[in-house]
């Protein structure tokens, strides 16, 4: 039964492999290799939801960076004499209580809203991914410590916590709002990141990388992260929309951005007086509509990205 192992038979084996090689080159299809990212991009380009939300977001980002492209007036230039006036030539959205042009203010408001949303999301994603990733990767005592810390922050209601912190500090501008949202919003991302890292860690290829001498850093960054990052990206995109809404909420409550800053939340807050709304609904309508469309665009984008990155959910 035991055969001689030293039968270096290059003849049949080599012939077989040549045949196999030939078959492979013949049958190799023109389909090109795609990475996860380019695969997702391939799907996204064919998704109408992505196209619509992408164009909207592109438009919003452009006017956030260069509002003067479509609004030539100064958002802080107001004529009290035209207070609450309706639409007029050159002022299609009318005037607010201070006599400022609603169109100009709505356009300029995009900057603060999107800046807060993007910066807060980046902060949240960074803190959440680092905390959750380390907890999931190292496990044991680190997991317990980091997960319990996450739970503590999770227990703080976002709006209530933000109100308390923002009413204590006297700084103005977008940074206090960004910091508070980032400091309180990360636990959700941390949980998702932790779960994703634990799942990715159990794959055989992580074990294989370890068996071939990869260190912790390389395993985490090269082998686990790319396989765990999709849910974090998806969640972050969806959260971006909610953070923009949150900024408006905080500004409406009077603790977010303060008046010289132009933002949708500030304008909605100023327009929400009952008397004014009855007489001049346009001053509430336009910033509120802009806010809703922006939030919707980011949430749609998040949905589309999720579909592209996780085909199983479709």
């Amino acid at each position: 039964m035991p055969e001689q192992r030293d039968t270096p038979g290059p003849g049949p084996l080599a012939a077989r492999e040549e045949a196999a090689a030939e078959a492979m080159t013949v049958s190799s299809s023109p389909e090109t290799a795609r990475s996860l990212g380019s695969d997702a991009w391939h799907d996204l380009r064919r998704n109408p939801i992505f196209i619509v939300s992408g164009l909207l977001i592109l438009f919003l980002v452009v006017i956030a960076i260069h509002p003067s492209l479509i609004a030539t007036r100064d958002p802080l230039f107001c004529e009290l004499g035209r207070s609450l006036d309706g639409p007029a030539p050159g002022h299609w959205f009318g005037f607010d209580a201070q006599g400022c042009d609603v169109y100009t203010r709505t356009v300029y408001g995009a900057r603060a809203s999107i800046a807060v949303g993007v910066c807060a999301t980046l902060g949240v994603a960074l803190i959440g991914a680092v905390v959750g990733g380390l907890a999931g990767f190292y496990g044991g005592i680190w997991d317990s410590l980091l997960s319990r810390t996450t739970d503590i922050f999770f227990a703080i209601p976002l709006i209530l916590g933000a109100i308390v912190f923002l009413s204590m500090i006297t700084l103005t501008g977008i940074w206090p709002v960004v910091l508070v949202i980032a400091a309180l919003g990360w636990p959700q991302i941390a949980r998702i990141a932790r779960g994703a890292v634990i799942t990715a860690k159990q794959h055989d290829y992580v074990q294989a990388a370890r068996a071939l001498g990869a260190g912790n850093g390389r395993m985490l960054l090269r082998h686990i992260l790319p396989n765990a990052v999709a849910p974090v990206i998806v969640m972050s995109t969806i959260m971006l929309g909610t953070f923009i809404a949150l900024e408006a909420t905080l500004s409406f409550l009077g603790v977010g951005l303060q008046p010289p800053t132009v933002s949708w939340g500030v304008d909605i807050s100023a327009a929400s007086d009952g008397m004014q709304f009855r007489n001049a609904p346009h001053i509430l309508l336009y910033p509120a509509a802009a806010l809703s469309v922006t939030v919707l665009a980011f949430i749609m984008m998040g949905d589309a990205v999720r579909d592209a990155l996780d085909p199983k959910l479709r």
């Binding site: 039964m1 035991p2 055969e3 192992r5 270096p8 084996l13 077989r16 492999e17 196999a20 090689a21 492979m24 080159t25 190799s28 290799a33 795609r34 990475s35 996860l36 044991g140 794959h203 055989d204 290829y205 074990q207 294989a208 990388a209 370890r210 068996a211 071939l212 001498g213 990869a214 260190g215 390389r218 090269r222 082998h223 790319p226 396989n227």
Partner: protein, 353 residues
């Protein structure tokens, strides 16, 4: 732990005498436990074996016999917790790895010892191209540049005979067939020309037609680089062709060790005998296929004495109380056969019966 019997067993006699600073790898009385809810599972209970450069040791055993866990303990990739090395030594060129610092062990992995896994698809990272993963070996251990690593990756793919290597180096694992993926795994393990390769059931996930090719390739590369190879398998057919020596494991112990031909010709342990008899054979066509009765024991509650006694046709009262050490197997003239041992009280009866 109760692995107290004669520390240097017959298994080691052959290789220890080879001299020159001892064998490439020597495992001594290795014991690995897993904490489970049902208690401590003793996956490995005092395993000893050794491998020399250029030698192929086949570790044979059914699922759960501890063969893979032993390999993981040697490589230092055991999941701890729940796993834990409870006792023993793993000597790699005389250096005890179990007491070595983790950083030193990490540098050894890939560079001096490497492992090939069973399922190549799940062992390759789906989001990285195979070229990147092959090149990573050179980047991690040799500090190679990106371009250099890519070149070496192409070389490696050609060496394991992947057709059109240069065109396929940027392809992803799912674009390769099972046999090709296993070749890539082999290429990764061989990248730095390690001294020792542990192949954990390298052909189990492959088609029968591809199995032979992959084993042939592995054996050829092993001869070329003069590596020690530990081949973990449950496939007796695979073993016969490529192994020099065989260690048969059962319930976390080595029950028999022998040069491959002698083991096939005359097994000295009832378990080995049962395994060999349960291979379907053409000349037994129409007859009932032999099967070893019963099931492998639960690792949380190993039987007393010889772990195999509940399933053994030769078991006696003695087997239930006294655990047999690995007896040296003697030939007809009462001289010990080099490298042969059997952990059975009745090895003589089994050998000649």
């Amino acid at each position: 732990m109760s692995h107290d019997t004669g520390a240097t067993d017959a298994a080691e006699v052959g290789a220890d005498d080879a001299g020159g600073g001892g064998p490439l790898l020597a495992v001594r009385d290795l014991a690995v436990e897993f904490r489970t809810r049902e208690g401590t599972a003793r996956a490995v209970n005092g395993v000893s074996y050794c491998v020399d450069s250029g030698e192929t040791l086949a570790v044979l055993g059914e699922s759960g016999s501890g063969k893979s866990v032993t390999a993981q303990a040697i490589m230092g990739i055991l999941d701890t917790p729940p796993g834990r090395v409870a006792a023993g030594r793993v000597l790699f060129r005389g250096r005890d790895l179990l007491t070595a610092p983790e950083e030193e062990r990490r540098r050894l992995r890939g560079e001096r010892m490497a492992m090939i896994f069973q399922d190549a698809l799940s062992s390759l990272n789906p989001v990285l191209s195979v070229g990147y993963q092959l090149g990573e070996m050179f980047r991690v251990h040799r500090g190679a540049s990106r371009r250099e690593a890519r070149e070496r990756a192409v070389d490696l793919m050609e060496r394991v005979r992947i057709p059109a290597a240069r065109e396929r180096v940027n392809d992803y694992p799912h674009q390769f067939s099972g046999g090709m993926r296993q070749r890539i795994m082999i290429a990764m393990a061989l990248a730095l020309e390690p001294d020792l390769i542990i192949a954990d059931e390298p052909t189990t996930a492959l088609d029968v037609t591809v199995q032979a090719q992959v084993m042939e390739l592995l054996a050829e590369l092993q001869r070329e680089f003069h590596m020690g190879l530990i081949l973990i398998t449950h496939d007796l057919g695979v073993v016969a062709d490529v192994a020099d020596r065989i260690a048969v494991m059962y319930a976390g112990r080595i029950v028999e060790t022998a040069p491959v031909k002698e083991l096939y010709a005359a097994p000295a342990h009832p378990y080995t005998k049962g395994l060999l008899e349960s291979i379907p054979r053409l000349d037994h066509k129409g007859k009932e296929l032999y099967a070893i009765q019963g099931l492998p024991p639960s690792l949380t509650a190993l039987p007393s004495g010889c772990s195999f006694h509940p399933r053994c046709p030769l078991a006696t009262e003695r087997c239930t109380t006294e655990r047999p050490p690995l007896h040296p197997v003697l030939d007809a003239s009462e001289a010990p056969v080099a490298g042969r041992g059997s952990a059975c009280h009745y090895w003589k009866e089994t050998l000649h019966g």
